[in-house]
Amino acid sequence: MKDQTAATANQMTRRQPSAFSSLTFWAIVGGLAVLGMFVDDPYMQHVLILCFLWAIVAAGWDLVLGYAGIYNYAQLVFFAAGAYGSGMLAAKLGVSPIVAIPLGGIFAGFMGLLIALPCLRLRGEYIALFTFAVHLAMPPLILKTKHWGTGGNTGLLGIPPIDLFGFTIGPRDKLAWFYLTLAVASVAIYIIYFIVLRRRMGKAFVALRDSEDFARSLGVSDFRYKLLAFMSSALITGLAGALYAHYTTVVTPKILGNEFFLLAMVMLAIGGIGRFPGAVLGAFIVTIANELLRSAGNMRLLLLGLAVVLTVLLLPSGIVSLRENFQRLWRKTRAKQ
């Protein structure tokens, strides 16, 4: 009897981490790749490209906020650092976008290091206050550094398209962008959820999140792993920002505005943090809902807000918990039979 309960418990916990196997993941990526061949409406392609880019941002944020438990609200600063870094390198210094995009990511990773260092001396909600202050300080900083070539309020214009082996991927080559962003997003998400979080680093993140004192007493270096969480999250988010810059060819301080920030927050709230595929699912749902609600005008943000209120009340752990709720119900009904 005891063995039996132990065995079922074993199955339950075993199922949890492998709930989403890498095979399922790549099958979905493959499905999206096939879908790309059938979608020929440029607007639809555009929305999907935005979904992929936002999925990277949401996954990067989920890594630091959901798994490492660090209340970092400067995530869009990393997005902007990648966008401006890569955009300025390419537009002002003539660096090839192929080189500028990874450099933009590295620049964002460096910003992650700069923001992480003061955060190591802070706890919990103070990290939220500090990082949000950094976020708020960015737009004025971009305006003040106009003479460095940030473009100020009008934005950084004329960011060149990607040039790959003599093949130019302009903003109108939606299909090429579709596959490029799909490839980058799937690799980034795979690295975050299937490699980093399942190895030693991910275990350290979760241990520090669950109980920092206990984790440190067991030899987990909070210094090392908090820096790693910030930097890896910033690097990946910066890559998304850099891709975004070359896709839209224009970067303005608007990417640090309230709307983008709220959208990203809503993605995590609706999708659910700290459980794959919550954040990624949230990015898709919110990006698509946001486009569908374009016609609603001013009502759009209100409706998105309502969606957050409803998910927080009905599904506090986000849409991912639906599946677990169904599984529980399913097991219960089966047990009754």
Partner: protein, 255 residues
């Protein structure tokens, strides 16, 4: 890394040595010139009235709080100012008064965290076997795959202890391991500590209010009062000492 060992810890039998250790919180001297040695392989009990500085002492010895002044050496190495994770990697482990646990992990994953990040971290493929051994030793084998969210106090204490043991420590500090347990549970825990002490090459320092149980367990007891060492001796001598009785029950003359 290794500094020359100061004169006080040249004795091969001394595992940890505190020399005139002070820890201030503002004007309060929570530890006020504490000097004593922890001997290799012993079970040392630490007792004293509330606010005597027991938890502060433990926090200073495990790197949670830096000492304001004084010297602490472990295995001949100065450790003052080292963070807890580095102390752990030298072989100093601890448990907490309020059970700490990784709530999103299973029992086994909690213990495995200690094995993975403690001494000899990550190296060697025998981590799984080591984790199984520790889980077995502490008596958690039947529950090892369970989630920890519905574990009771006793189980939580066992998990915390197992995780600390999994780091392969040389010195283990236990902060009030018996608090909140009933008489039967206290007996089973005392037996568990005795079993661990016999089975492992491990030195114990046990901070505990339950003086009777502490006397059963310890070879020596240290009484802390107002941040200083009142006395350190065998349980019999400590418990019959007038100063200790005064500290615990108030001065007899006043009664």
């Amino acid at each position: 890394m290794s500094e020359p060992a100061p004169a006080t810890s040249t004795n091969a039998d001394v595992l940890m040595s505190l020399n005139d250790v002070v820890r201030r919180f503002g004007a309060l001297r929570a530890l006020d010139g504490v000097t004593f040695d922890i001997m290799q392989g012993e079970m040392l009990g630490v007792a004293g009235p509330n606010g005597a500085g027991k938890t502060t002492l433990l926090n200073v010895c495990t790197g949670v709080l830096p000492a304001t002044s004084g010297h602490i050496t472990f295995d001949g190495q100065a450790i003052r100012g080292m963070p807890p994770n580095q102390c752990c990697q030298l072989g100093i482990a601890r448990t907490f008064q309020i059970p700490q646990i990784f709530s999103s992990m299973t029992v086994r994953e909690n213990v495995a965290t200690g094995a993975e990040f403690g001494i000899g971290q990550g190296g060697g493929g025998n981590i799984e076997a080591h984790v199984s051994d520790v889980i077995d030793l502490v008596g958690l084998t039947p529950q090892q795959s369970n989630s920890v969210t519905d574990a009771d106090l006793l189980t939580r204490k066992r998990i915390m202890l197992a995780a600390a043991l999994a780091t392969r420590p040389k010195l283990l500090f236990l902060d009030e391991p018996l608090s909140g347990l009933n008489a039967d549970e206290v007996d089973s825990f005392v037996a568990l500590f005795q079993r661990l002490h016999a089975a492992l090459d491990l030195t114990f320092v046990i901070v505990e209010h339950k003086v009777r149980a502490l006397a059963d367990l310890s070879e020596r007891i240290l009484i802390l009062n107002f941040g200083s060492v009142l006395m350190i001796d065998t349980p019999e001598r400590v418990l019959s000492d007038e100063r200790v009785i005064d500290v615990y029950l108030g001065t007899r003359n006043l009664a």
